[in-house]
């Protein structure tokens, strides 16, 4: 599931916007700078999140990151080592966005509900 720092607005995010956030096209939301946290692109949770939630393949995300990083048009995501670090970092970073599989019960974390279609 998608998680965010509690500072981010509670209203739902659409799938197209979520794809834009994780492909680093959308870098701010309602005036707040977003920081995207991901696991290593070879981590099974990253692959599952990419394919099942975003509906894209990890190589497409990697390509999108390289495009923004090396054209100066955006920033890359921050890679974290583990699910625990993901929770810790997102809870600590205003504007932080990430994902976890399993319980996301952590102070400072908001679970982002996908807007119903």
């Amino acid at each position: 599931m998608v998680i965010a720092h509690e500072s981010l607005p509670d209203n739902a995010i659409t799938l197209p916007m979520l794809r834009a956030i994780f492909s680093m096209r959308l870098q701010t939301l309602q005036g707040e700078r977003l920081t995207v946290f991901v696991l290593d692109s070879r981590h099974p949770d990253h692959e599952a999140f990419s394919k099942e939630v975003l509906g894209v393949f990890p190589y497409q995300l990697q390509n999108a990151w390289n495009r923004v990083i090396f054209s100066g048009t955006g920033r890359g995501p921050v890679t974290v080592e583990s699910r625990q670090e993901m929770l810790r970092q997102v809870s600590r970073t205003p504007g932080g966005v990430g994902y976890v599989t399993g319980p996301a019960d952590h102070p400072g974390i908001r679970v982002i509900s996908m807007e119903a279609r």
């Binding site: 799938l15 834009a20 509906g55 894209v56 990697q62």
Partner: protein, 407 residues
């Protein structure tokens, strides 16, 4: 052309020190640093490509370092310095690849903004990151679209001016529109030599006007990507004040349309791009007469065996003038010119490429590819001065290896 080993060394040292800085930079902070380094090896028969590749050449080295600083959520500063050594064409002197102020006016489901300064021109799928090995679909980009040897490159890479962008994220897909306006600039000597297709033209080549527009559409997160780019460039050549200049004053207009399509599955990607480029030179002396149309396309299939290994096959075709695809008429036009003789193979280039890539980690990429080529239109004259004396081989092969690291 001079070699600048010293410049590369200084640049490498700066790169290393900044890399250390990057480790210290706080993850997720307002400052981000990234870089790339790649080294190629080329071996060919028939003609040279990026240095004396018939004997084996290491003259393909790309180094880059960039920084992006978010001053406020809507204001960012971004710059990249690149050193690129590519045979006789580019000597590795570090240059500012891009450097701009990025002001975002809109965020949310519509993103829009302006960039002021030097930015990479979005053309097709790859132009903005063309010097970064890991972002390319092979060691060498399809040359008919991402021209190198014809001297058009510098009209389409870091261009000074105003660049606007707009992205719309909808349930029907993503729409992106980029519009760039260039300010007039004087082109560097290598570009001038390649563009005028002679090493011997004292004077100045200027870009007097340039505009670029790209529309991009991505469906289902990029399962299907479609793009259309139109770019318009006007140039002017003024010879130095000498008696009997080898080339008289002239102007050239270049109008290009690039269409792009890509289909992505988990293992397979199919990519195709085509270009139609209308060139209209006026002046320069007695040889020039009227406009002509350059065209080309490529089709590539990439297959990912697993996370680390991929292979690809690509077919490319290119004609300098679509009304003379064999090049015989264009070759004959040089018959009355003293001291210049160009074979028909200088006016087209078609090729098959097979390649493989290995990514042991997301940062490292090792590639090998083999090109079977017919023609030399997209092969640098600077690496093959004999092309102007009726030399060069029509049919030839090029083998390339490249290692790249990005951070």
């Amino acid at each position: 052309m001079k070699r600048s080993g010293k410049g590369i060394c200084i640049f490498l040292a700066a790169l290393c020190s900044l890399w250390v800085g990057q480790v210290q930079a706080q993850a997720g902070g307002p400052l981000e640093l990234h870089g790339f380094i790649s080294q190629g090896y080329l071996y060919s028969n028939g003609n040279d490509y990026y240095g004396p590749s018939r004997d084996g050449s290491f003259e393909l080295t790309e180094l880059g370092l960039n920084a992006r600083y978010m001053v406020t959520p809507s204001l960012a500063l971004a710059a990249q310095v690149v050193s690129r050594r590519a045979g006789e064409l580019y000597d590795g002197d570090p240059r500012l690849d891009y450097g701009f102020v990025d002001y975002r006016l809109l965020d949310g489901s519509v993103v829009g903004g302006v960039r002021l300064g030097r930015a990479k021109i979005p053309i097709g799928f790859y132009n903005e990151t063309r010097d970064v090995a890991t972002t390319r679909p092979g060691i060498l980009l399809p040359q008919t679209i991402y021209v190198e040897g014809l001297g058009l490159r510098d009209f389409y890479t870091g261009v000074d001016g105003l660049h606007t962008y707009w992205q719309w994220f909808t349930d029907r897909g993503l729409f992106q529109f980029d519009l760039g306006l260039a300010v007039p600039t004087t082109m560097q000597d290598e570009t001038q030599a390649a563009f005028l297709r002679t090493q011997d033209a004292p004077g100045k080549l200027r870009l007097t006007s340039g505009q670029n527009a790209r529309l991009l559409y991505e469906r289902d997160g990029g399962a299907l990507r479609l793009g259309a780019t139109y770019s318009r460039v006007r140039t002017e050549y003024r010879p130095d004040d000498l008696p009997n200049p080898p080339l008289e004053a002239g102007e050239t207009s270049v109008d290009a349309l690039v269409l792009s399509a890509e289909w992505n599955r988990e293992r397979l990607s199919l990519t195709t791009e085509g270009v139609v480029r209308r060139l209209h030179p006026k002046g320069y002396g007695p040889l020039t007469d009227g406009a002509f149309t350059e065209a080309g396309y490529y089709l590539q299939g990439t297959y990912r065996f697993n996370h680390q290994w991929e292979g690809f096959v690509r077919h490319e075709q290119h004609w300098n003038d679509t009304s003379d695809r064999s090049g015989t008429r264009q070759s004959r036009e040089f018959d009355p010119v003293p001291g210049v003789d160009r074979e028909p193979h200088r006016f087209y280039q078609h090729q098959w490429t097979v390649g493989a890539g290995w990514r042991p980690t997301p940062q490292w990429l090792l590639r090998a590819e083999w090109h079977h080529i017919d023609g030399t239109a997209l092969t640098p004259l600077a690496d093959n001065p004999e092309f102007d004396q009726g030399g060069g081989q029509a049919r030839w092969d090029l083998f390339a290896l490249q290692a790249s690291f990005t951070f």
